[in-house]
């Protein structure tokens, strides 16, 4: 019935063209980053570089340049903060979601409603008091403070995602293990959590992406400190380059590569995470 016909072929061609148009910004990004200084000013922005050069990248990454230590530090800080936040969200979020879905008490239902409401609440209002409190506790500019902030503000998302998966998990395994004499904590650690690999993957990808790419919170909490994440480093560095687009784009590409590499390596997981996880 719905077979491949002439109309389908036309649609296919149209969609390929649409995709190419959607991806055109990446063409400008890459070609400009490979142009020498003179060419950026004189040649058309649409033209590919006449003299390919990797100078922009080597200027940024050469150990002698001031930029390289900033960028590498930013990369390291981003990794530490993202991994730390994911760990907190998984370690605290999964048992919480488990108890909330497997217990039938009135309080667990009420707590779950609190979680759902928290997802919809705009956290912007909380940022000011959080910043003030963190400043009082000396946590501004520290990765630990930011990990706690991300852990708390993204916790409802983590609990919500895990709950969706736990609800679909048949209870047979847990019942069987209990019959064998396993305690509740053993059942969770040895059976439920390992079975929930896809849930943990979804939580890690969704929250990790938010943390890695976050600019607003990172700017407020880390700007000016020695622990800036990549987006903040990029913001400050680009601010110091006036219209040196080849250098700016080299910075942008360096900041994008780790994530894009991970995306193409695990693209199925990414897309499923967004599609399936959010269905809950």
């Amino acid at each position: 019935m719905f077979s491949y016909r002439k109309k389908t072929l036309i649609l296919e061609i149209v969609m390929i063209l649409v995709t190419l148009a959607m991806l055109s910004p990446f063409y400008f990004l890459v070609t400009t980053s490979l142009k020498p200084d003179k060419e950026v000013l004189t040649s058309s922005t649409l033209a590919p570089p006449k003299h390919l050069t990797l100078n922009n990248f080597s200027t940024l990454l050469a150990p002698s340049s001031g930029a390289s230590s900033n960028i590498l530090h930013g990369l390291l800080n981003s990794v530490i903060i993202t991994v730390g936040s994911i760990l907190l969200l998984v370690v605290a979020g999964s048992p919480a979601a488990y108890v909330l879905t497997r217990s039938t008490s009135r309080w667990s239902t009420r707590t779950y409603y609190l979680v759902l409401i928290a997802i919809l609440l705009p956290t912007q209002l909380g940022v000011v008091p959080l910043y003030v409190e963190a400043r009082n506790l000396g946590l501004v500019g520290s990765p630990v403070g930011l990990i706690v902030v991300y852990g708390g503000t993204l916790m409802p998302l983590s609990v919500f995602l895990y709950s969706g998966f736990f609800r679909r998990l048949p209870r047979d395994y847990e019942e069987a293990a209990t019959v064998d004499g396993a305690s509740r904590s053993r059942v969770f650690l040895r059976i439920v959590f390992p079975l929930m690999g896809p849930a943990t993957g979804t939580v890690a990808i969704l929250t990790g992406l938010i943390v890695w790419n976050d600019f607003f919170t990172a700017l407020i909490f880390l700007n000016g400190s020695g622990h800036q994440t990549l987006p903040v480093v990029m913001y400050n560095y680009v601010g110091s380059l006036v219209s040196q687009w080849n250098l700016i784009f080299a910075v942008v590409i360096i900041s994008m590569v780790p994530l894009l590499a991970f995306y193409f390596f695990a693209q199925k997981k990414f897309i499923q995470g967004y599609a399936g996880g959010l269905k809950g």
Partner: protein
């Protein structure tokens, strides 16, 4: 080994409960009882402190003139009066509304169209999905720099327009007060259409092809099938995609800061960028909190309306 054994035993167990045996009462479903509430404690405490308490104390500061250091006074509704009497701030409110709704509408229309096109049949659909989703994973601030270049006066957009004979359409996109906001919207929509597409693709995957075929045999045209079968069946996806886009649209910050910095002359200021500037640049904590409260109430109202509009009617 033990797993298999215990599974077998569980099955036996169930059989035995089905047969009426007065000695054993039927086992209830596996539950985690009261004694385990502390498993949820770390997560719940983190959430309550960092979301609920933080928001409550933000709402408290909104009625004060605190500057971030030292003491403060309660000034009632003065902050709010000042917000609604300052042209730049009411402009920011208007811009937030335009961006929020524009973002919601355009991402959902484009995302749904892409999802419908890439749902079945096309041979390249898997590759195209991966490519169209790609912008979603990049940091919004990085995306903004790419587009800042594209929109620049000497940039690719104007050069393309010049090359195809539309010289009169050339503009200084980001410094023209009439166009800058639209330019910001374009960047937001470009980055997030792939995410909406993926959410709709997941919904469309639940619509059985046989159902559509049956309807087609009964004489239903493409539009009729879309309205009577597809739309009701992807209702959950519509609810999720619209909720996500609404919340994101109103909170928009990174793109504005990187593309225009709120300029030209405040033409692209949003409530989120004003919160940042008032609070962290001018250190008017009380006033910034009042702005954040306005933004929060706005998001809250719109979300409730949206939840009601996309509720499950079945």
């Amino acid at each position: 080994m033990t797993m298999i054994e215990s599974q077998g035993r569980a099955a036996n167990d169930r059989r035995s409960t089905e047969a009426p045996k007065p000695a054993r009462r039927p086992r209830s479903r596996y539950r985690v009882g009261y004694g385990y509430w502390w498993w949820a404690l770390p997560a719940v405490v983190l959430m309550i402190v960092l979301i609920y308490l933080a928001i409550a104390s933000g709402a408290f500061y909104a009625f004060t003139n605190w500057t971030g250091i030292g003491s403060f006074d309660f000034i009632g509704l003065k902050n709010f009066r000042r917000i609604f009497q300052t042209a730049e701030l009411t402009g920011a409110l208007k811009n937030s509304l335009i961006l929020g709704f524009g973002f919601l509408v355009f991402t959902n229309i484009l995302g749904l169209l892409f999802a419908l096109a890439l749902n079945r049949r096309l041979k390249t659909r898997h590759l195209l999905r991966v490519l169209l989703f790609m912008p979603v994973v990049i940091a919004p601030i990085a995306v903004s720099y790419i587009w800042k270049f594209i929109f620049a006066y000497e940039g690719p957009l104007n050069q393309v327009l010049g090359a195809i004979g539309l010289k009169s359409w050339q503009h200084d996109w980001l410094t023209d007060p009439k166009l800058a906001l639209a330019a910001v919207l374009v960047v937001m929509v470009w980055q997030n259409t792939g995410m909406v597409m993926v959410i709709y693709l997941a919904g469309l995957a639940t619509v059985p092809a046989e159902l559509e075929e049956a309807a087609a045999i009964d004489g239903a045209g493409a539009f009729r099938r879309f309205r009577a079968i597809t739309i009701p069946m992807i209702q959950p996806s519509i609810a999720i995609a619209t909720t996500l886009m609404l919340i994101q649209g109103f909170r928009i910050f990174d793109q504005v800061l990187a593309l225009t910095g709120g300029g030209p002359a405040g033409a692209t200021q949003t409530l989120a960028t004003e919160v940042y500037q008032q609070t962290f640049v001018f250190t008017n904590f009380g006033f910034g909190a009042a702005l954040a409260l306005v933004l929060s109430v706005l998001i809250f109202i719109v979300t409730i309306v949206q939840q009601y509009a996309t509720r499950d009617r079945t």
